[in-house]
Amino acid sequence: MLKKFASVAGALALSTALVTPAMAELSGKLRIISDMSNPAPRAIMEGLAADFDAMHPGLEVEVEIVDREAWKSQIRNALTANSPDVINWYAANRMGPYVNAGLFEDISDMYANGDLPGLDSVKGAMTLDGKQYGVPYTYYQWGIYYREDIFKELGLSEPATFDEEMANCAKILESGRKCYTIGSKFLWTAGGWFDYMNMRTNGFDFHMKLATGEASWTSDEVRETFANWRKLIDMGAFIDDHQTYSWQEALPFMVKGEAAAYLMGNFVVPHLREGGMTDDQIDFYQFPKIADVPMGEDAPTDTFHIASGAQNKEAARAFLQYVTSPDVQTKINGPEGLGQLPVNAGSSVADDEFITQGFDMLSNNATGGIAQFFDRDFPAEMASIGMEGLQEFMVFPDNLDDILNRLESARERIYK
């Protein structure tokens, strides 16, 4: 397995030698547990390990790839018993339990002494209590992916405001289609809608206050968010029976042209292309403005961390530097790789209509701030109770008072 990548590794080793500061030759064994289990990410991870292995003749790199969903509960055992050196996880609050339990290594010194150049813009997402606990390796934008051909047929253009959005939607509904597809069986898709409705109605700062438990779920601001959301629900903008579908099962509605758009992360694009959509048929726009507040965006970040029980911290640190270096970032996030956004400011962004639009949006038009996503910004328990309430609201909007009271009492209990 490792040999296959040896030739590529040689070339990469040369190029990265320029950016990686000189250091003592690494030796021993580097154990990585990764959750990049989907086919494309898996190849990337294995390639990274092979290249790093080839760069350091004295070092043996060992990768274990765990199913992405299973990893969410296995990480605890992995970190507490016979812990590996490097692991995958997520940014922001999702790091909280492991940071508090002292299981993630504090790598603030790497950020401070310039070992990680080009990561200044993403440093915030890796910071808890003023310290940094890992490095990001990829992130992606969220936004509205829509059927360009349907928009053309109906003479619609990308909306910039919520009124335009609703006017578009009215026309789409008139043509016998639904405006948005969504599959809320596993709840988090409803979290995406709430993130955007709330960030656009009350601004990024209020959204973060809600996430950190400082704002109340029964406040007028939150009610206004739901009132705006309800305008779409009452129009019949969303597909019927979405609570029965997973997000993948909701894709055919858009592919078959029964729904015109999907609020989703950029990872939806390969699925749409596989479904037979050409790039002429799909396009992307930023979630439109509602109130006059700076636009906040969801851009979930995936990360690497060093376990505090790591055996080979020196090699682990070198690996983190390697993964975030500009060239490696360009390569692994390129169209042949993850097809997402590189985290290093010195990397170049793939020439793909969605990635360039997303990059442009996040660099120039996300002045409000960058959120991670509902289930990563809110504490785990609040997120799970919250998303259940959001799903219920989307099906039975009349239950809103009951839902909000429930979430408010959960808030009072969870953030003590």
Partner: protein
């Protein structure tokens, strides 16, 4: 000295040998079942995320359970499962009586009826969730041809649990059927003959002559059905994942969600749910053990 030792072992070998044979089993049972039960009791008194320090909170987890609406829903769903799952017993008996005849190809029919029990619960769940699909599903296709409104069984919080129970009944009925089929083989033809001479037929024959002889089969069917109802985790997980909005959770699923799922890791609270579930199970287990004991005593006298 050595002879004395030998003779002690020899004298007690009738006691020692079974103990030695039982020892591995007892050790494993203690390590994997008995001790964890007491650990759960202990953890349920703490607030613990599974990683950091556990803080002692006394009975607070249990107090929270009393006001937790999701717990209440899960408990009621458990009751629904227990009651409705018992329908598998009469249904299984009916099919067994129906199949207990000698016609051409009866073995094939029997194995076809037994088929759902052989396939995995996960597959049963998938098949039924496709059957219930709101637009493409077979159920709604049938309802539409009959001129009725379509329903989204698994998306409707009032129907979803019943939908899952119906899926569970399919393999469980097959299980009960096979138990009764073997039971029917053991029915004494002379008693049936005697009953017939005394003028019993139809339901009377079934109730007074056949069923009493099927008591062992009924007992086993009852036991496996109750246990099956309490183990409904996989069907729920595959068909609705506890949703819509938590309306199909049962206690075991809720415990898993609170303690071990992606957003969980409240070990104390999960353990408190586990303790409640344990007592519900204990009630049935005690009843089974007691009735088995009683039966053994009766047969000895």
């Amino acid at each position: 000295m050595s002879t004395a030792h030998q003779s002690w072992a020899k004298r007690n070998r009738m006691t020692l040998t079974p103990l030695l044979f039982l020892l591995p089993g007892i050790l494993f049972f203690a390590a994997y079942v008995i001790i964890p039960i007491f650990q759960s009791f202990n953890i349920s008194l703490y607030e613990w995320d599974g990683l950091g320090e556990a803080t002692y909170v006394g009975t607070r987890n249990y107090e929270e359970l009393l006001t937790d609406r999701n717990f209440e829903i899960s408990l009621w769903n458990n009751v629904k499962w227990l009651v409705l799952y018992l329908l598998a017993i009469p249904a299984g008996l009916f099919i067994a009586l129906f199949l207990n005849q000698t016609v051409f190809g009866i073995r094939l029919y029997k194995s076809l009826f037994f088929f759902p029990f052989v396939i995995s619960q996960v597959v049963v769940g998938l098949v039924f969730s496709w059957f219930y699909l709101p637009r493409e599903g077979l159920l709604n296709a049938v309802l539409t041809t009959l001129g009725m409104d379509t329903i989204n069984v698994l998306g409707d919080p009032t129907l979803a649990t019943y939908g899952i129970i119906a899926a569970g009944l399919w393999p469980q009925t097959a299980y009960c059927m096979i138990l009764y089929l073997t039971g029917l083989n053991a029915v004494d033809p002379e008693q049936v003959e005697a009953g017939r001479l005394d003028g019993a037929k139809g339901l009377k024959m079934l109730w007074y002559v056949i069923l009493p002889q099927l008591r062992p089969a009924t007992f086993i069917a009852f036991v496996v059905t109750i246990i099956g109802a309490l183990r409904s985790f996989d069907l729920i997980s595959i068909m609705t994942n506890g949703g819509p909005f938590g309306s199909t959770r049962v206690l075991s699923f809720y415990m898993f969600e609170k303690a071990l799922s992606e957003y969980g890791f409240r070990m104390g609270y999960g353990s408190a749910i586990a303790v409640v579930l344990f007592f519900i199970m204990l009630f049935f287990i005690a009843y089974f053990l007691w009735s088995m004991y009683r039966e053994e005593r009766q047969s000895r006298h």
